[in-house]
């Protein structure tokens, strides 16, 4: 069965969405991420959606649900790499993305998670880079 892979890197789960997902794939991903946060006790989930060329209400709802479910398990969810046209469209559509943290890219998301003390710094230098 088709599935979006979830990469575990230390306390982080990294998911890169590169294809136009049909609804079942979206539902499966939501389930897989929450299961994996539970079993691995990950502290951060980073969803790279740079490969997505639209976010409709269905995908938006999934992003919100993932953020809410992972928050209950003490993990932060970041959406990164959103294309500008997608961001503008989301706002005009009126999609509420409250609860979902956004960052420009994976590195920025990791910086923020480190600054919040959610994940450990690799070295002292890098720990102070965040804003």
């Amino acid at each position: 069965m088709e599935r979006i892979p979830i990469l575990k890197i230390g306390d982080l789960l990294l998911v890169t969405i590169q294809l136009d997902m049909h609804d079942q794939l979206v539902m499966d991903l939501q389930k897989d991420i929450t299961n994996m946060v539970r079993t691995t006790e990950a502290k951060g989930v980073i969803l790279d959606i740079s490969g997505l060329d639209m976010v409709d209400s269905f995908i938006g709802r999934m992003l919100g649900t993932i953020a809410a479910m992972t928050a209950v398990m003490d993990a932060h969810t970041f959406v990164v790499g959103m294309q500008p046209a997608v961001a503008i469209t989301i706002v005009e559509l009126g999609l509420p993305l409250g609860g979902v943290h956004t960052a420009l890219n994976v590195e920025k998301a990791i910086e923020r998670l480190r600054a919040w003390g959610k994940i450990e710094a690799e070295s002292d230098d890098e720990a102070h880079e965040g804003d």
């Binding site: 136009d20 294309q83 046209a85 469209t89 559509l93 009126g94 999609l95």
Partner: protein, 129 residues
């Protein structure tokens, strides 16, 4: 030219979005307009699937004062009794957020809806090329 995509199963929504991409590329629509049309099409095709079960999506380019990329979403489902209410942000009879219709209307240059109980629903959207 006209393209017709039937909507009956989930995977058809992906086909509808792909078709929008193809048409948008043919008419060199901007990235933003392409994303808006894809998002609108995804919402309206999903409405067909959720509320009517099956329906049809028609793609065409129409010539008027200005050329437009037009998509028509048609179904023979239950129809909508109060269209004004259905166009309100947050109004839903299902489990959605009530975003599809009002949101779509904001995204496109032209939006038209014809529906009545027992008569099915037809939504027409268009974007200037």
């Amino acid at each position: 030219m006209i393209d017709i995509v039937p909507v009956a199963v989930e995977e058809d929504l992906v086909r509808v979005r792909q078709k929008v991409r193809q048409w948008a590329a043919t008419y060199a629509l901007s990235t933003l307009k392409t994303v808006k049309m894809q998002t609108a099409a995804s919402e309206l095709a999903r409405n067909i699937l959720v509320y009517a079960g099956t329906g049809t999506v028609f793609f065409s380019a129409i010539d008027g004062p200005r050329r437009e990329f037009q998509i028509i979403f048609e179904d023979q489902g239950p129809g909508i009794a109060d269209i004004e209410q259905a166009l309100q942000d947050g109004y839903t009879t299902g489990s959605g957020m009530g975003i599809g219709l009002p949101g779509t209307k904001r995204l496109v240059d032209h939006f038209e809806i014809v529906s009545a109980p027992g008569q099915g629903t037809r939504v027409i959207i268009a974007m200037r090329i």
